[in-house]
Amino acid sequence: MSEMMERQKTKKKDFRVKSKIFYAALMAVPVLQFIVFYIGVNINSILLAFQDIEISSDAVKTVTWTWKNFTGWFTNETSRSLVLTATGTSLKVYAITLFTGVPLGLLFSYYIYKKMPCASGFRVVLFMPSIISSIVMVLIYKYCVNDALPAIFKGLPKLLDNADTRFGVIAFYNVYVSFGTSVLMYSNKMAGISPEIIEAANLDGATQLQEFWHVVLPLTFPTISIFLITGVATLFTNQFNLYSFYGGYKTVPDSSLETLGYYMYSRAEAAKLDQTVYPPLAALGLIMTAIAVPLTFGLKFTLEKFGPSED
């Protein structure tokens, strides 16, 4: 009897060892990838921010350590003004998304959740901009706004060529195409709300607006908070689709349209592997991260402390 138990114990132990080997073998690839392309990239980004790279005519690379990649953004008048303008535009774009895109997304999700007329059709159409390449969508939108609208409404200027309307037209596009994933996630979350809770609200005589505000919204809040918290980074990464509208570096007709995300990408792309350009951009990235991290955690803390509770 004891021999049998002993054998079973050994078998279990063998199985556990084999499990550990299997686990380690399968984990090795993702962990290695993470070490190189997440930890390595970020450490390299920090180091790069303090480097001054010079490449001589015979391709010899000289690296000296410096603070000037950081200070340059504050002392150099041109850089400072460009980054300040880009920061202002990024804040404007973020506010537009937050105050129009998010509420509209939630209301559309509620409409879909309540299975109102054509709800499933609207769900498909709202998701469509997410599956169409931004370059295709922008191309059609751009010509439509600039050529078709002035032909329909006589006297209307070419809205994208007009300095007064350009920002609004691009902002409208950005909100218009922003509903796909958020509506999908919100409506899936709403679909999981217990019918008893809705029934109780209805018995209490709640109107639909009250039901949405006092019942559905708090119960969807965990998903909303994910979008809000992860959305802070978009303040620094959102390119406002400018690359699709106007193309790369120095092609945007008005520098006040540039966001921080566009600024970073367009300069890095224009560098074409010229490593001497990278250090100031890496420094700017670090500055932005240093602002984004406390902002994100501040928002997370605020939402957890003051946001509605699921209970």
């Binding site: 997440y38 790069l48 309540k114 191309l139 010509y143 980074a233």
Partner: protein
Amino acid sequence: MEKIMKKKNSLNRARFSPLTAVLLGVLILYVLIMLGMFFWAIITSLKSPDRYYKDPIGVPTAISLNYGFVFKNFKIMVSGHEHKMLDMVFNSLLYAVGGAFMKTLITCVTAYLCARYSYKFSKVVYTVVIVSMIVPIVGSLPSELQMAHSLGIHNHIWGLWIMKMNFLGMYFLVFYEFFKALPKSYTEAAEIDGASDMRILLTIGLPLVKYTFLSVMLIYFIEYWNDYQVPLVFIPDHPTLAYGMFYLSGSGGGDLARTPYQMSMAIMVLIPILILFLCSHKRLLGNLNVGGIKG
């Protein structure tokens, strides 16, 4: 169960109120804008450039064969090499299918390991995913480019596959919650029968998650197929279809710069992905659900 579902449906299918009436109006306007844009793009793509510049919104009186012209001239010069449309389609397929498969597989397997094996390291990995989602690290593109260059993977499509092989992101949580919710009894029986861990993963874990796997892979496929910014900087000599479209819609348009050709080009690039979406939208818009972030 059926009763509960019926009750849920009847409660969800609410009465019409001023709120829903306004929402219906806004949504109809949304759809009309989209349909209007696509309808205009289609009729423009069938017009000759001369006809278009005379009347940008009228229906074409004679159909112009722009699509053939666009197919023939959809080519770009990159680093002294000419790339035709079919080359770009091939590059797009390599990048999108390979990248999406690698990314989904790694995410799914890592989530499986974390959910089914309660080692301390699993908790570390889970925490890393959550932290990476919350902590915004921005502006690392220059470093990524330098790293890719120094590792010798820059300008190779397989290099991009390697770069995409990470488990970070929201879909890790989708897979994690799926495997965590799977009753232990599913795998215990196989364990008693002496099945190895690999066998359990291949014959029980992956088959059970296949529909979620396909949905996530499809989402990544569409994302990479449409992406031109990553190929532009990481595989500049292997233009994808979206990259080519970006090039030709800008200053490199040449013969294709005129609006009807641009619209034909847009429709040609749009149609395959639209068909794919319409065939798979039920799966795509299905049950991908994520709860709150804890930690």
